[in-house]
Amino acid sequence: MKIIKDKVAKLSFVALLVTMTAAIFYTPAASAHGEKSQAAFMRMRTIHWFDLNWSKDEVAVNDTMTISGKFHVFAGWPETVDKPEVSFLNIGIPGPVFIRAGSWIGDQLVPRSVSLELGNTYEFKVLLKARRPGDWHVHTMMNVQGGGPIIGPGKWVTITGSMGEFVNPVTTLTGETINLEDYELDNIYFWHAFWYALGLAWLIFWVKRPLFVPRHIAVSSGKADTLISATDRKVAVAFGVGVLVIVAASMGTTNEKYPVTTPLQAGLLRGIKPIEMPEPTVDVKVEDATYRVPGRAMQMTLTITNNGDRPVRLGEFNTASVRFLDPDVLEDESGYPDDLLAEEGLTVSDNSPIQPGETRTVNVTASDAAWEVYRLADLIYDPDSRFAGLLFFFDDEGNRQMVMVDAPLIPSFI
């Protein structure tokens, strides 16, 4: 019996080792940026991205593409997240597969952090230059100090070619054109190799003699002074003086070679200009809103008043970058990412045109698997169970109006 037990134990151990070894061969590529894990209220109630455009789906190394669009800084910004007084327009990509050749909010280049105002809408553009071949999920992203990264929608972009062909030419203010990709690389390697060699020389000078046991015996028996010879002292002086001379000389020659240098540049950019959005003529009041967990659908009762002079219809509800469309009113032609587009996801109980001066109460349902896939259903576990989003109304001439909604959300489990 004992033999059988031993054999079972041994085989189990071998099986465990084989399993663990096999596991290392399974290394799937990480293809997303945790956007679905970000708390739903963060995505719904902070930065609303819209009118996005990825200029290309496929781009060759050294070619450029842009991501452009608008973002609205939600006026009902949650208390649990620091306000976007120090923010940075970033881009969500897996490392520098593109270089960020430029980024603008409005007309302002934004290589530094910016201060954004709640309730404002801004236009942005990011210019990317392809560097590393592969299929990459390219997200819009706004980093907020004290709030963390707020990731926007992502779209797959393919880079073709070879990274070895990538160049990044830059002309300095001293008139020199360099390739930033490998600029001064030899200089860096040289100085690090030089100092490492000098450090090794000092080490070898000492370790070529008997070290630990005899020296410990000597120190223990009160003969420590005999362990450092006059030659050792001379060599040490040579090393010490040599180091100081090399540092001073190399600094001098460097200053001669680069007479013009400036400190690193930093600082917050204030006064970023928002878009002048027209005052909406449609007024929306949220009577109630529920999220039906089993049906993966959000239902709202809205009282809509049209104060304009043309009839309007509700065409889109946009929340957390998921776009729910009423296909009778709006079809997307921008190439928006499929997984974030519910082309028939918006149902309005009565979506006939609301005439000027008319007030109508309607039931609006936004339903799609995206609620579950993008973990927006987790909103009911958030510390402040509210939802927010953008409603887009269209008149008979195709003019668009944007209206923000922000209201409590009651979950329904039956």
Binding site: V86, S87, F88, N90, I91, G92, I93, G95, P96, R100, P111, M141, P149, V170, T172, L173, T174, I178, L180, D182, Y183, E184, L185, W191, H192, W195, G199, L200, W202, W206, V207, L211, F212, R215, V219, S220, S221, A224, L227, I228, R233, A236, V237, F239, G240, V243, L244, V247, S250, M251, T254, N255, K257, Y258, T261, T262, P263, L264, Q265, A266
Partner: protein, 249 residues
């Protein structure tokens, strides 16, 4: 063989065993220090050491020597007071730099493709060699702390300048002036490191105009002296042999 008998049978064999022990201890020491020092320095110096656009004349100069003089001081205490070996600082920094270069080359460049000229480590060896030389010549912890620690802090910026200066050449980019290092930080996207995290050129040290680096270096040198004392005592404490019953010391 009883406990009282020798493990070796001749002087030649004793020398051979002693030498083997030397290499084993040195190898173990080197890689143990590499691991511990690397983690310590990455946690305390971190981004200042990772990226060229963090290597400024104010905070990098201040922080890097203060947080990096730690292990050299501790290892010096052990190797000097036990063995009269003045290699503690150099062996520590050699270990650290080997670990850092492996990390930067294989991970930062090989894995995530950040150019090496953007993520190379700071140079600490000039200060380490001087620290060892001062300890050997003085034989005094106090003098090593004051003179060596001071030199360690002061020599840091000029020791790195040949590598840093080319990256501080200015460039005009879409209507803004920045250094090439700033441009590297802007071009080579770090999703998890937004610009506002960068701690450069912060503080109230404005009285000296553009000559900030020497003042920062002096401040760093003074604090390095204190940190040297502290970590030297740590090293002495770790090098105790109280747990050996028949301790000759």
């Amino acid at each position: 063989m009883s406990a009282s008998q020798s493990a070796v049978r001749s002087r030649a064999e004793a020398v051979q065993v002693s030498r083997t022990l030397d290499w084993m201890i040195l190898f173990t020491l080197f890689f143990a220090v590499l691991g511990g020092y690397h983690i310590h320095y990455m946690l305390t110096g971190g981004d200042w050491d990772f990226w060229s656009d963090w290597k400024d004349r104010r905070l990098w100069v201040t922080v890097a020597p203060i947080v990096s003089i730690t292990f050299p001081a501790a290892v010096q205490a052990c190797l000097w007071w036990r063995y009269r070996l003045p290699i503690g600082a150099t062996v520590s920094v050699l270990g650290l730099l080997l670990g850092e270069w492996i990390n930067r080359y294989l991970n930062f460049w090989g894995w995530t493709y950040f150019p090496v000229n953007f993520c190379f480590p700071s140079q600490l060896l000039p200060g380490a060699i001087v620290l060892d030389v001062v300890l050997m010549l003085s034989g005094s912890m106090t003098l090593t702390a004051v003179v060596g620690g001071m030199a360690y802090g002061l020599i840091f910026y000029p020791g790195n300048w040949p590598v840093i200066a080319p990256l501080h050449v200015p460039v005009e980019y879409n209507g803004m002036m920045m250094t090439l290092a700033d441009l590297q930080g802007y071009h080579y996207v770090r999703t998890g490191t937004p610009e506002y995290i960068r701690m450069v050129e912060k503080g109230t040290l404005r009285t000296f105009g553009k000559d900030v680096a020497p003042v920062s270096a002096f401040f760093s040198a003074f604090v390095s002296i204190i940190i040297y004392f502290l970590w030297h005592f740590f090293g002495k404490w770790f090098a105790k042999t109280d747990f050996i019953s028949d301790d000759a010391t």
